[in-house]
Subunit: 197 residues, 2 copies
Amino acid sequence: MSKILSDAGMDLLFRDARTHNAWQDKEVSDVLLEAIYDLAKLGPTSANCSPMRVVYVRSPEAKARLKPTLDAGNVEKTMAAPVTAIIGHDQEFFQHLPRLFPHAADARSWFAGKPAHIETTAFRNGSLQGAYFILSARALGLDCGPMSGFDNEAVDREFFPSGTVRSNFLCNLGHGDPKGLFPRSPRFDFDDVCTIL
Amino acid sequence: MSKILSDAGMDLLFRDARTHNAWQDKEVSDVLLEAIYDLAKLGPTSANCSPMRVVYVRSPEAKARLKPTLDAGNVEKTMAAPVTAIIGHDQEFFQHLPRLFPHAADARSWFAGKPAHIETTAFRNGSLQGAYFILSARALGLDCGPMSGFDNEAVDREFFPSGTVRSNFLCNLGHGDPKGLFPRSPRFDFDDVCTIL
């Protein structure tokens, strides 16, 4: 017999989970930040390419470096969040395929010298992993505040000095204050965006 | 007190879940296909832009149209899968923002006439929604077989005739046959790809 997720689990990950804008003054431990990744890393990526790279911005010094890269509307909540995760993807991900996809000896050659294929693969799979990251954080009892409103190139320069990683989105993490929630916005109905052929 | 996901839930969505390559001969109902979307739609996207579009390929006729677009290694398992979902994203997503993000009267203007911003936003958020889709299917007791190996332009012509939707990835759905599983490939350790600042 098939198992399905409990109602409580569906509530925690999807139905009751909301994008938070205000934060309780509660720290998030290193162990919890590690546990988010340890769950999220198990989600599927093509050829197990795993391009996501994460910088957790937590100290006041690191927050101060992030602040000038943020859109005005994202400054206050991001400075108040216990942690802000920078989700990026490494354009050199394919160099690691001999380790990550060991049964295909030539996997690196599927990408080497093909910049458009590299970029698409890194962005697609880094974004999939970013979503696994959000749901893993919720699974571990944290609230998330993901956002796209920041200067990507400035973040890349400041936090990914290797030059091979592109920032994708930011995700505030902590225990949200429900007083800062907006009403949930409407979603498309099934028939608006799905077809069965 | 914070709630966290049960061990059984973490197993179902992440730890025991695997990418399946062989399928049991069990149908997947319309109700279940609708339920996947109804859960996945709740995951966050920037400005609630919700660009994902889904075509469920289930009938023999629709499978026959999909077959010539597949990479050789993906044909047999995809033809055998009870359903194959085509996950795409609509480049015209921003036309719907007055409905989806009603409190920002000018949201459409954030994108109109900005093709690079449109494309990046559609691809990022469509991929996030694709990951919510995979985990929602697992939450409902289905196994997934996501894959990138197909001719995107041919799929777009065949299944998204409006011309505004780009295919992102395919996801076989059903009840997997564990005999078709490969051993799980290794993942990066936390310290390989994550930093706490």
